[in-house]
Symmetry: C2
Subunit: 382 residues, 2 copies
Amino acid sequence: MNALAEAAPAAERIVVPVALAERSYDILIGRHQLCEAAQVIASRFPGARAAIVTDTNLATLHAPALESCLQQAGVTATRLTIPPGESSKSYARFSELCDGLLAAKIERNDLVIALGGGVVGDLSGFAASVLRRGVRLVQIPTSLLAQVDSSVGGKTGINSSHGKNLIGAFHQPALVVCDTALLDTLSEREFKAGYAEVVKYGLIDDAAFFDWCEVNWRRVMEGGPERDHAVATACRAKAAVVARDEREDGDRALLNLGHTFAHALERLTRYDSARLVHGEAVAIGLSLAFRFSQRLGLCSGQDAGRVAAHLAAVGLPTRLQDVPGGAGTASDIVEAMTQDKKVKRGALTFILAHGIGKSFIAPGVATETAHDFIESELVERI
Amino acid sequence: MNALAEAAPAAERIVVPVALAERSYDILIGRHQLCEAAQVIASRFPGARAAIVTDTNLATLHAPALESCLQQAGVTATRLTIPPGESSKSYARFSELCDGLLAAKIERNDLVIALGGGVVGDLSGFAASVLRRGVRLVQIPTSLLAQVDSSVGGKTGINSSHGKNLIGAFHQPALVVCDTALLDTLSEREFKAGYAEVVKYGLIDDAAFFDWCEVNWRRVMEGGPERDHAVATACRAKAAVVARDEREDGDRALLNLGHTFAHALERLTRYDSARLVHGEAVAIGLSLAFRFSQRLGLCSGQDAGRVAAHLAAVGLPTRLQDVPGGAGTASDIVEAMTQDKKVKRGALTFILAHGIGKSFIAPGVATETAHDFIESELVERI
């Protein structure tokens, strides 16, 4: 053991296993886990070389620390950077990245390390899934959104002019490392946006966790054990759903709570993060999903009110009117929803709820029903 | 049943099952199977829409017949065409095809039908594997090479400037239809090239089939029951290997008999089909694999001689000197081999043989050993 590793003893961590038979893997959660991650990589994948994929922002912020840890652990690594932002999830960046990984001589037993937010994870995960028909992927998510959502479960992909994430693969990572200290550098807006996905897990099937969130959200933002607990609870919930339904043939669709609305709003704001980021769209989507459930007589107004009140207290948007520049008419929103890949033979699928922690998949919702609800939202809440 | 179907009763066919648990599928083999295929599609995938991907040559030759059969069977189909030739296995055509499939509103439960040779199958199979993270694929191979090799087993992919098939996926088809009457329109050169892959199965582990080939090859070319038998034997052999080792972690590498050499030769001739097509490169590769085995004292000269003699009798190339314009020096060839994705940590993997039908995987062959052998081939056989 060298001096640096001695000086910084491994911090406490939570290990959440994802049970997927021969594709099983662990999620390590805790503060200051980069060197721990490097040790795990060195011991689990002996002899493997690594390509770190990151964006030009994180290349300065976190990549040097990871590289130093990998070097200490004896893992040879090269770095590939992509421009930050959703526009990197394109065919052009995909082909560039694949060629970059080939130029870096990444072979079948080597690995790709995605060090970044959802964009880095989705793009480099997709590239890893098709490089030489599949190489190992290690996810080291640097945003809260990526730690609790996109880095776990194996969904990877890029966007097409026809919509978001329409081209991609299910490619489970070999390891996920959620270093919660990396989140200290996030902007408040970015942290809050990720927090919407944390709350989502309580709303899906864990009312007690939603109660906990209402009490503890400030401490989650500040860091410390509550943050680790929130990330671990979210990862555990996601892992359980993914283990039951890896390829989203059934139950996994529950994770889309709020997302039919959210994807439509992102589409209508042209994925312009100045106007709306994914987590903000999800916050509005969650609120709408509960109010839609209320309107359909499925859920109490009290529960729908609690959902919106908590998200608003945190500082997240909860109404269509909160979309800067507006989200368009009810018809625009319904039209945008029908473009989503979750459409089956023209009918809309929503995740609705009988109450907090009681969500369910509602396929075959008539577009007229959705249209009427959205119209009422636009009218009533001006 | 309508008049046309009555007028053309379904021809005899062989059904070869590929056993891959929930990814199992059938290969239908026989003459005039397009309408049969359409019926099977309609009954197995009720309500699914189809996108036929084909090339501009086959769009005239075979697509109208398939479309008519699908229409009779009640399957809605649209057609997408790509330019013929290896250059279509590119990032650019891949993204165009994905967008074309999205524009055709192919959803998760719909299917992509690859009607063509290896290029169409590999490109559209890859697109199907990543479209909405995976839609069903039906392979209707129109070349002998595709019928006995690329359409079965789920390998899909495109080329990079770094090499062939370096970007792709394992995506098993939902159905493969080998209509052996479609092969009547192949040129003699193209048919013979595909025949090299047929012979390969005998050489791998079925000496009796190689004996049969020596006797029956002319009738395979002419059509009739011998052609169906050859295609079925090849598909059955490939299906058995794929069932044992879907993702090429072990045994499946046996299918690469002759291919370490073949890929290098294709690379060195810049994939210029005017000089060398894949099957011709395989014919040379098979001959070289057996002579290499002979040189290493593994295989008798008699067996190595029989392999080359049969391929030459058919009219296939068997020597490096048969490559039009030359294949380069021994160093060029070894260098080209090290670019192949089957390289593991720098060591070369060959498929060698103890005799006809007795092939095995030989990992870790020193590049010097290969170099010396190739040099002897270039010297002795001028």
